[in-house]
Amino acid sequence: MEKIITIANLTKSYEHHKALDNVSFDIQQGSIFGLLGPNGAGKTTLIRLLNQIIFPDSGTITFKGRLIKPNDVLQFGYLPEERGLYKKMKVGEQAIYLAQLKGLSRNDAIQKLKRWFDKFDIGNWWNRKVEELSKGMQQKIQFIVTVLHKPELLIFDEPFSGFDPINTNLLKKEILHLHEQGSTIIFSTHNMESVEEICQDIVLINKAKNILQGSVCDVKSLYKTNTFSVNFEGELNQAIIAEKGKELWKIILHKTKNNQTETKLQLLKEIKSNNSLLKQLLPIGNVTTFQELLPTMNDVFINAVKQKEHE
């Protein structure tokens, strides 16, 4: 898979504050990429650098194999965190204008917009002023304008913040749809659940530095705690289970109800594979549930940040 964007040694300071410190990572073409980090970490600065709204003190950004050029922004779609629309302008007019800014012709823009408006069922907002719409409605408009020109690279900055589940779902569906059509998507967020659901690769920025990167699976493995959830049929004594895995595991949780035994086991030493653990469990009883409890991205986030701070 090709790299669509390469960030190399990017550094940017404002006055006395270093926003990015020698940050480097790659983004694969066609992937959904999570740009994570606490507030004030430097995510917005990175996005602005990508969009060429500001320019770095040092370092480079490479797009499709060559240094990024001013015209490249026409291939990008940017959905900022805060609503960026003229309040007193009519929805339709404004959408056409913003589409034209990205290089679409007027007629082309109108055609495409009408299609999107029908898809979202918001056709009757065309002549309303933006300030008359609710936040969720404005978000939809902004989303349409971002994706209208079928950009190769989409950048979403906290797209779900403050939205009800229905709108969030709608947006998620559209993002996945765009992904299927081949767009590369960069997600900047600290809503870890959405990362969990959608992202394939991530980078975690904290205090201007890149502290973690990789695919979601790899990153989770990095922080796994070797904890397993195992349920047995019947109500088994805790002592029996503890006895069987004296050196291997310790019981973190033990519950019996409704003729079921629920346990959570934490491994005390490395095992060859999950299958070998299963082999150890089978003699104890009928296993009804066997699952490795991987850390949530939330856990990963917290642990990674804490870890770096102790270094």
Partner: protein, 452 residues
């Protein structure tokens, strides 16, 4: 606003005229106690009175008698019995409906005072009417006493008109009127000040709105900040020009239309009436007050305006106005845009706007001296320096400005605009992305040094 503006302006011109005509139609009745006895009835038509006995025709008192103190269009004098007392009127004043009570004392010539009583404030118009009447009347009496015919006095009154002629470089002679030039100059200067200020403020407000609504981030992700700034400035310039043209056309149209359609409201007639009502000469032998003397003066004024219009080079005037309006606006609009980019809301702009508008304000205040001494070195320098030249130069133009001065002023203006725009662009580029912190002058200087 574009359409309402001229309507409002036209209303401003027409309404006072209309309203004052309405007001003056209110008839006021003033009771008179004339202890001298001479301002009351006098016989004006003795022959009619004599003929009555012959023809037995009924004659109305108005045909024969008239008060020496004549009624005007809006005052009617009601003569009470000579021996009436002031107090008797005072007690029943409310119920009588009189506007006032005029008391002419027996010793009028010595005291030279007439009293007017009322429960309201007496309007200035009426007081002036009365004092003018009595003065003229008594003067006439004194002349007659000295055996001088009052008509001689009238015939020797002369008004002399000073006609100014200007020599043009072409060797022609043109009638000029420096008052007209002054009015035009002042008007142009004020207009420039207003428009430059108004539209530059619009630019600033637009910049602030884009910044606070974060739309600037989206736009700047597609175009360069300088393009956005210039686009906004040029766009509003076009709006300004359109609005201005519409205003001129519509105001002119409305006022002309109203004038021609109704003579009651015609400004010229109104001026005449006002002049008449204030300076009525009352002649006891005539019913109509004479005001013909006033008319010539007004006619002269109209004539001189007409003639003077030819002495002012209208092409230079209009072209210069457009140039300085546009250039002055570009200059201030780019500075205002830079200010707008440095703040988060309009209240924070105050600290920056004040020093910027001082040159403009100064030139506005100095209009008086530019008008009086259009060729002084003070006026010269003010019309050359780009920050004050829009106003100063426009004030001077009706008086005639040498072409080389105009050329220098314009050239300097253009160069300065380029420099200011370049600097403003730098501030704008950085300012629009700075949120939360209130920028100080030092910050602005720092932004100037940021490289791409």
């Amino acid at each position: 606003m574009t359409l309402i503006g001229p309507v409002l302006l036209a209303l401003l011109i027409i309404a006072p005229a209309y309203l004052s005509t309405m007001q003056s139609h209110q008839l006021r009745r003033i009771a008179v106690i004339d202890q001298t006895g001479i301002f009351g009835d006098t016989i004006i038509n003795t022959s009619l009175l004599n003929n009555q006995k012959l023809n037995n025709k009924k004659i109305t008192p108005e045909e024969v008698f008239q008060h020496r103190l004549t009624d005007s269009k809006y005052i009617h004098f009601d003569f009470l019995p000579i021996n009436s007392s002031i107090d008797s009127v005072k007690n029943i004043f409310e119920s009588t409906g009189y506007y006032a009570l005029l008391f002419i004392p027996k010793n009028l010539l010595n005291s030279r005072t007439i009293q007017i009583f009322s429960n309201k404030e007496i309007s200035l118009n009426i007081k002036m009417y009365l004092s003018k009447f009595f003065e003229k009347d008594i003067e006439k009496e004194k002349l007659i006493e000295k055996k001088i015919d009052p008509n001689i006095i009238k015939s020797i009154q002369t008004s002399i008109n000073i006609e100014s002629v200007k020599w043009t470089p072409k060797g022609e002679e043109k009638n000029t009127n420096s008052e007209i030039a002054m009015v035009l100059g002042a008007f142009a200067g004020i207009l420039i000040y207003m428009f430059v200020f108004m539209y530059s403020s619009q630019v600033m407000r637009g910049v602030i709105e884009e910044k606070t609504s974060r739309i600037v981030e989206i736009i700047v992700s597609s175009v360069k900040p300088l393009q956005l700034m210039m686009g906004k400035i040029i766009g509003i310039a076009l709006v300004g020009l359109t609005q201005f043209l519409l205003w001129v056309i519509l105001t002119f149209g409305i006022v002309t239309a109203v004038q021609s359609s109704s003579s009651t409201f015609s400004l010229k007639t109104q001026t005449n009436e006002q002049v008449q009502s204030l300076m009525t000469e009352v002649n006891s032998n005539q019913i109509q007050p004479t005001a013909d003397k006033e008319n010539p003066k007004i006619n002269e004024l109209v004539q001189s305006v007409y003639h003077t219009s030819f002495s002012i080079d209208w092409t230079v005037m209009i072209l210069s106005f457009l140039f300085f309006f546009l250039m002055g606006y570009l200059l201030y609009a780019s500075m205002f845009a830079a200010v707008g980019s440095a703040v988060d809301n309009e209240t924070d702009t105050q600290q920056f706007i004040l020093p910027l508008t001082i040159p403009l304000l100064l030139s506005l205040i100095m209009i008086q001296s530019f008008l009086n001494f259009p060729d002084s070195s003070l006026s010269f320098w003010f019309s050359i320096i780009p920050f004050t030249s829009p106003v100063a130069m426009m004030v001077r133009i009706p008086f005639g400005v040498p072409y080389w001065q105009l050329a220098i002023s314009m050239a300097l203006m253009i160069i300065t605009i380029f420099i200011v725009m370049w600097l403003s662009g730098k501030i704008y580029r950085t300012g629009i992305l700075m949120y939360g912190k209130k920028a100080s002058y030092r910050d602005l200087l720092k932004w100037l040094r940021y490289k791409k």
